[in-house]
Symmetry: C2
């Protein structure tokens, strides 16, 4: 698999259209068997890099996952980070804000959950909900949404002083979402994942796509670019996300630190 970053990135400051991304595209990963092999190798590699990141404690990695309901955020986390040591991973799922969270600015809960140096943080949904559902469901007025766009870009630049930020949107088709919602309803062990509100959100499908289009283009920056991953095929999705994460860690290139003592000098009785 060649580096998927160039193909998947939303180029900062340039024209780009979400509608041009085919959610069923698997051309970057080859066939299913090959993709699964790549995923396994990259998941191992991610676990190894994470050890070094943790040992070095100089930088953090923050992976932000966005996508409509059923786009596969949970499954991606399990697939990509399933081999990473639980000590080095901090996963945060952002749901509907609590009263306490609403009593603060919208970035308050986000900032509090940012990973400290040495960790990989994963956000399952994020502050981007505040400019997506916030806009589509009219939870905030247009001026507030505008201000949030600016605040998000400034915020991420600051966070990037200690943290590499990798923003990934999982892109599924409307047909695929129908299949997945149906599957949740038909399997008693999955019905708990079904939220009747998802059907309501589905009625706003086109508005959400338009909101994503704007978010992706306006907040893909050099320091924190967006990548859009075709996600109708779970095996392709996992291989692509693992490829993005592995290569990002490779570029960060953490190393085991040198001790400030000579190991040969230490006596243990």
């Amino acid at each position: 698999m060649t580096d998927p970053r160039k193909a998947l990135v939303v180029p900062p400051g340039r024209d780009w259209s979400l509608a041009d991304v085919d959610p069923r595209d698997t051309s970057l990963v080859g066939d299913k068997e090959k993709a699964k092999e790549r995923l396994a190798a990259d998941a191992d590699s991610i676990a190894e890099w994470q050890e070094k990141l943790f040992a070095e404690r100089r930088h953090a990695l923050l992976v932000i996952l966005q996508g409509t309901d059923t786009s596969g955020k949970d499954g991606t986390i399990r697939g990509v980070f399933g081999r990473t040591g639980p000590m080095g991973l901090a996963v945060t799922a952002f749901g509907r804000p609590t009263p306490e969270e609403l009593a603060h600015d919208f970035l308050w809960r986000i900032h509090a959950a940012c990973p400290r140096r040495g960790l990989i943080g994963v956000f399952n949904r994020s502050h981007y909900e505040d400019v997506l559902v916030g806009r589509v469901r009219k939870l905030a007025d247009p001026e507030t949404i505008e201000r949030r766009f600016r605040q998000i870009v400034e915020f991420e630049e600051m966070v990037a002083s200690s943290t590499t930020i990798l923003k990934i949107m999982l892109h599924i088709s409307k047909d695929e979402q129908r299949e997945r919602l149906r599957a949740r309803l038909d399997d008693p062990e999955k019905t708990w994942k079904f939220d009747p509100g998802d059907v309501e959100d589905r009625r706003h499908w086109d508005e959400y796509q338009a909101a994503y289009q704007e978010v992706l283009v306006r907040t893909s920056t050099k320091i924190a670019p967006w990548y859009v991953v075709p996600a109708d095929r779970k095996w392709a999705r996992n291989a692509l996300v693992a490829g993005l994460v592995r290569r990002t860690l490779e570029d960060m290139a953490p190393r085991y630190p040198k001790p400030d003592f000579d190991p040969a000098d230490i006596r243990i009785d």
Copy 2:
């Protein structure tokens, strides 16, 4: 493997001696190959139970891991929870308290990290450090240590109203610790784990064993009993801990919740 709980528990309110536990004992798990099979099966089973715990959101499980330096707390977490979905697991490592943590009572940071309903929380060290290192290194006076014992028991009883608490001490021998410290010094990829303070703590070995003896006997309660796991052999240790966790989840018996709607009524266009 028969239920290891009866053999490993520190019986609440009864005589018991840490010195009677042989850190090299593997009799409960059989040979290495069998232990690894059990571990794999139990790790899968833990992952399945965790899904139900998460879906039901009625209870949490808190696993508290204690043990001297190099007793294998990190390796245990990786081995036992390596197959558990990262979304459902919250691991917290407690190190030397920060100035902000010291500005609060000793249970403040502990309480904040307790898992919410639906999660498995794992504590790598815990409030027990405050009655272990606190006593051996004389960081607190005897009256304070006494008070903490009482406060810990009361605190855990309260936490247990939403959370099943499983307290596990990993018990290694002094010889095994020497081997492991030496191994860290001899392997450049492990030297970062070596803290010169560990050698200093090792000089207080007997005092720490005495402190553990007191902690285990005084804080093993019906609602939050201690289990002591022989931990010189990593494969036996992991199999035993996984067995304790799997059986605890089995007793909690979480179930997928029934939806409050009829799935057949839901139309998805």
